[in-house]
């Protein structure tokens, strides 16, 4: 029974990984660009929830919306102020740019919020629920389910709506999209906004059940890399599946080997993947 509980807990966390990783993979698919500050976007989403809880109050919906709006705006600003130019530059500039951004955001958060771990005040959701004999924390259940719905929603929005297909058209062939009258610049800005917003919501949802500090971003960035690699670069459905797998592996290794091993196992998996299947589970070489 405990094992089943661990499995469900891992899948719920994995849904959150899937949500923020799909943002990272979307940008990779469109622009062949890895955002090294993606984990910091998740971290900022957590602090956005903290600020929302302090100033506005309300529950997860308010927190999530605050984080989504704030980070969407940040993502668009980052695109126009930094990425658009850097894209045309050498590889060094591409990698340095978001790397510098990550450092800046992480240590700015250190400075503003202090390096200590915090939790949201006045838990909006609390308690546990017993489902078919498994005890689940309500905040985790809500967060995980919301993340799953949002990730699937994002996938549907990309594949079923006009704007989504324009985004994918730019990802497929930039020049062809331009000939069709799509402006790649706007679409890429939108993608950065969406990616940052997905990271932000995921952060806000995790904030309702886990304590956090400015340093958590690095772990999330690495988790997202593993998920994106596992799911195949640029594939949102791949990220969904891989997010669940990574969450599950983490939960099981923490349960079997002890908490410190949960990251070791995941990073180890990443290294193994490099050797065996660098194109990802669902990807093609």
């Amino acid at each position: 029974m405990i094992l089943l509980q661990v499995v469900v807990g891992g899948l719920l966390l994995g849904a959150l990984y899937a949500l923020f990783s799909s943002g990272l993979t979307l940008i990779w698919g469109m622009m062949n660009f890895i955002n090294f500050a993606h984990g910091e976007f998740v971290m900022l989403g957590m602090y956005a929830a903290l600020l929302a809880a302090a100033w506005i109050g309300g529950g997860p919906v308010v927190f999530g919306l605050t984080a989504a709006l704030g980070l969407f705006f940040l993502g668009v600003v980052v695109y126009f102020a930094l990425i658009r130019e850097v894209m045309r530059g050498p590889m060094l500039a591409q990698i340095l740019s978001t790397f510098g951004l990550a450092l800046l955001l992480r240590y700015a958060a250190f400075w503003v919020f202090s390096p200590n771990f915090v939790t949201l005040p006045h838990p909006a959701l609390a308690g546990t629920i017993s489902l078919a004999g498994i005890l689940l924390s309500i905040p985790q259940l809500v967060a995980g389910l919301a993340a799953a719905v949002l990730t699937i929603g994002m996938h549907l929005a990309l594949t079923r709506t006009a704007v989504g297909s324009q985004l994918l058209a730019v990802a497929e062939d930039r020049n062809a999209a331009m000939l069709m009258g799509i402006r790649p610049d706007r679409m890429q800005a939108l993608a950065w906004g969406l990616a940052a917003a997905s990271a932000g919501i995921a952060g806000a949802l995790m904030a309702i059940s886990f304590p956090f500090s400015p340093a958590v971003g690095e772990t999330f960035a690495l988790t997202a890399f593993v998920v994106v690699t596992l799911g195949g670069f640029g594939s949102v459905p791949g990220a969904m599946l891989a997010g669940l797998i990574v969450g599950l592996i983490q939960a099981l290794s923490a349960y079997w080997f002890g908490p410190i091993y949960k990251d070791v196992v995941v990073y180890g998996l990443f290294v193994a993947l490099l050797w065996l299947r660098p194109q990802g589970l669902l990807g093609t070489a």
Binding site: L92, A93, I95, L96, G100, Y107, F110, W111, V264, Y267
Partner: protein, 328 residues
Amino acid sequence: MTRWGWLPLAAALLAYPWAVAGSDSAAFLQDMGALVLLAAISAAAWNILGGYAGQISVGHAMFFGAGAYMPLLVYQHWQMPPLLGVPLGIAVSLVVALVVGFPTFRLSGHYFSMATIAVAELVRIVVGNWDFLGAAIGLQGPARARGWYDLIFRSAVPYYYIFLGVLALLLLVAWQVQRSRLGYYLRAVRAGERAARSLGVPVRRYKLYALMLSAGFTSLAGALYALKTGFVDPDSGLGILVSVQMIIIAALGGAGTLLGPLLGAMILVPLQTATNTWLGGSGSGLTYIVYGGVIMLIARFEPGGLLELWHRQVTARLARPGEVRHAA
């Protein structure tokens, strides 16, 4: 730079400890001099791979850490002189370099960067939980010198000259690389792998050469750090900020140039010391806010670094008429 342009620079570096000896804060300035040289060595080692070959490693701390841990490990467990651990550290680095480089060099540049971060973090977490390697507390060197071979000095000046010697060796190697087929091929790989291949460059093999050379010297830098401070823990030896410092110094001075890393270290290390002093310790993280800002500014406005900026100023002045000549 002209043929003998480096001579004044070499003379200034040789004379520095002696020149500041009369100052009130001579010990502080000499120590900072040694730190500048050490940072320059790490950055110049990173530069072989990240600068010349354009493969941006964000995990060079693992090589630095291997170099820093091994000397202290042989002392801690077997009371051997730390110096004996230096080749061991280099050997470990080369093995790790092969393990990471071989699979990742098949794929694009971003992938290599991601892989290096992940492996470096993996190494940091494992070492931080491994009692044999001191776990979270780290390792210590001998408290007092048992003989010359422990390389323990009260003053920073002997370290300064040891570091200067290693830096000179490294720059000589880098200069030879730059002029040789290896250097040309690496720059071709950075500029365009597909075109490089079409001209007969075995791209993956040359990237591996660059990685091995770079990892070996980074490991040596780590060893020098451990010999000087006599102490290493997971953060100081393997933390991501160790890698970040190498990258930012090389990029600030000029990635892919011979003297860029030294220039970057001469600017950034004193700046870091100053921000730590003025802004109240490194704990507040303000130094890294500045770091992050500097990195972004370089990436956005001057990816070639300060030397590129200078180079452009000079060539613009020399070749103003007909600068954009079109050849047929």
